[in-house]
């Protein structure tokens, strides 16, 4: 009555597999946003790495004789061996006579370190908590209530509250920025877990007796990688911004450490006359954050196009 079951390998009539898609890597390297973003980020990382080589002077060296110089001005100072040398201040000097260019170059180190550290810690903590919440119902309500509570506090306020309690320093700033980011990662991971666990292939694995932990690691976890890479990039960008904001408000990294936010905080008083103290670090900061955001946008478009809908 019907056609006999085919035994020809890989041949069902009228039923052809989808054509192969270009690989993810190839797509990434064709995306202009990814390429531009990545290039700028790499340049900034490079600048941070070689800061001691390109800085024209010690970023913390105070020179009362050369305060509030305009960009391109020169000043002479005493070197270690006693001879006088002339330093050109590409970006001028601040109210204490410190060289802004050198401080900006060193600032790249702090900003990028904070961005990467915050992203890594937030993703790590959020991933574990999110997986637990998504897969174990009894944990879910407890965890999500706490996350709802944390999310109800506007992020910058929460960060401000955390730094205000601890002594100013790199670690406390990182923790302060991580705390508000974690619930967002948890929600993202949980959403992925909740949707993936309904997939027939996960159910099939359950039916064939795969233990829960293995199920999570083998079938659910890989689905979180792409959205987390994308989210991590955005967290990195936002962490760099928040650090700058905290330092700018005078409650972040201690002022003697050169960060972009601190340089700008320094420049606030004499802003009308010497806008360069805000302008140059501002450009570096905006450019870095812009590049990281572009990278994130490009990654999202190629890796995880549905993410924005999940919000």
């Amino acid at each position: 009555m019907t056609a006999p079951a085919t035994t020809t390998p890989l041949a069902d009539a009228a039923d052809t597999p989808a054509p192969a898609k270009p690989t993810v890597w190839r797509k990434l390297f064709r995306n202009p946003a990814v390429l531009t973003g990545l290039a700028i980020v790499l340049v900034m990382v490079f600048i941070g790495l070689i800061a001691p080589l390109i800085a024209t002077s010690d970023p913390s060296a105070i020179n009362p004789a050369a305060r509030n110089r305009l960009p391109m001005a020169e000043s002479s100072m005493r070197a270690d061996d006693g001879t006088r040398i002339t330093v050109k201040h590409w970006m001028g000097t601040d109210t204490l006579g410190r060289d802004v260019f050198s401080r900006v170059v060193y600032g790249a180190r702090v900003s990028i370190f904070i961005g990467v550290a915050v992203a890594a810690i937030s993703i790590g903590v959020g991933l574990v908590v999110g997986l637990l919440a998504g897969y174990f119902r009894w944990l879910d309500s407890v965890i999500m209530r706490i996350m709802d509570g944390l999310m109800a506090i506007p992020a910058i306020l929460l960060a401000i509250a955390v730094v205000s309690l601890s002594r100013a320093g790199l670690l406390s700033v990182i923790i302060a920025i991580v705390v508000p980011e974690v619930p967002r990662v948890v929600r993202l991971v949980r959403a992925v877990v909740l949707s993936v666990r309904e997939e027939p292939y996960v159910e099939a694995a359950r039916v064939s007796g795969t233990p829960t932990l293995k199920l999570l690691i083998r079938h659910v976890l890989p689905n979180t990688v792409a959205p987390l890479i994308v989210q991590g990039t955005f967290i990195c960008a936002s962490a760099i911004l928040v650090e700058a904001i905290l330092s700018f408000l005078g409650i972040g990294i201690p002022p003697e450490i050169p960060t972009w936010g601190n340089i700008m905080a320094e420049g606030r008083q004499l802003f009308r006359v010497f806008p360069h103290n805000i302008l140059y670090p501002g450009i570096f900061l905006a450019l870095t954050v812009l590049a990281v955001n572009m990278l994130g946008d490009g990654l999202r478009d190629t890796l995880d196009p549905k993410m924005e809908k999940r919000g």
Partner: protein
């Protein structure tokens, strides 16, 4: 409908309670003596002792919490260490500028962002779309204070169109009040516009691929009406959601903007309180901002029923 509102209102109680617990624990969980932290590095032991008594730190933690929660529920937010006033007085003095700035910013942002997002979605892939999206990424990336100082430098210092800093109370006339807020509102709206425009675009794009849009075209409907009658209303829920969620960004932005423009509002108060380690004030500000944020998002949730008849009461 009323029971729906009540149920939603009831659902916010656990969230606010969690916030209260966290605000309370923040101080207690910090390593070291909270009283010493509040008093600062140069405090005498007598000052530390005073603070300890004031906060009731010698009582058990649970008891401390309920005493504290009880006084908050009675509307007693405590007394500022630094300003020598009750926190309630401080906040009510400072609320006008912050509220003015926030409302103006939201209105400005919605008016600019939604048309931008709709046009970008409709012209997906063209230069208009790229321009809007480009602006949006830049808006996310440039720090509020850089935007602020840039605007001040151009429009106040160089062109002299607006005052450089400061705030004019609304009782002193609408004109000066408005002029003093134009630059701050624009500054603050940049990131908000970026956020809303982006979500509008995404949401409208998604709706435009729906079957009922094809149906509307199959009826012979014009593109303009397809876009504004069919697409926008369906796209509304995610857009109002992001307007609500964006309030958190706005509150963060207020802190910075008020510092840049020397506006004596709640944002400025936050920074001053942190610098002075004025802990009752910090706690009260976090609590009240969170309360407002949760309340606004409750209103946003309730507004869904206007846009989407499928959402049940």
């Amino acid at each position: 409908m009323l029971s729906y509102i009540l149920r939603r209102l009831a659902a916010t109680v656990p969230v606010l309670f969690t916030v209260a617990v966290m605000v309370f624990l923040m101080l207690r969980l910090t390593p070291g003596d909270p009283a010493a932290i509040i008093a600062g590095d140069n405090a005498t032991s007598q000052q530390i002792l005073d603070i300890r008594t004031k906060l009731g730190l010698e009582q058990p933690v649970l008891q401390q919490f309920f005493i504290w929660l009880g006084s908050i529920l009675r509307g007693d937010l405590g007394e500022s260490f630094f300003f020598r006033k009750t926190v309630w007085e401080l906040i009510s003095e400072r609320i006008e500028p912050t509220l003015s700035l926030a409302v103006l910013t939201i209105v400005l942002a919605v008016i600019i962002a939604i048309p931008l997002g709709v046009v970008a979605a409709y012209r997906q892939g063209t230069w208009v779309d790229r321009l809007v999206m480009g602006f949006s990424v830049i808006g996310f990336s440039v720090p509020v204070f850089v935007v602020g100082y840039l605007l001040v430098y151009i429009f106040a210092v160089k062109l002299g169109w607006f005052p450089v800093q400061g705030y004019q109370r609304i009782s002193g006339g609408l004109g000066p009040w408005f002029r003093s807020l134009v630059l701050p509102a624009f500054t603050l709206s940049v990131i908000y516009v970026a956020l809303i425009a982006r979500m509008t675009r995404t949401s409208v794009l998604e709706v435009l691929s729906e079957d009922y849009i094809r149906t509307a075209r199959a009826k012979g409907q014009t593109e303009v009406k397809v876009l504004f009658q069919h697409a926008l209303k369906n796209a509304a829920v995610p857009i109002v959601t992001v307007v609500g969620i964006g309030i958190a960004l706005l509150i963060g932005g207020v802190v910075v903007t008020e510092s840049v423009y020397s506006i004596p509002g709640l944002g400025r108060l936050t920074v001053d309180a942190v610098l002075a380690r004025d802990f009752p004030v910090i706690q009260a500000i976090i609590l009240s901002f969170s309360f407002v944020y949760v309340l606004i998002n409750l209103l946003v949730d309730l507004s869904y029923t206007i846009f989407d008849p499928r959402i049940r009461y």
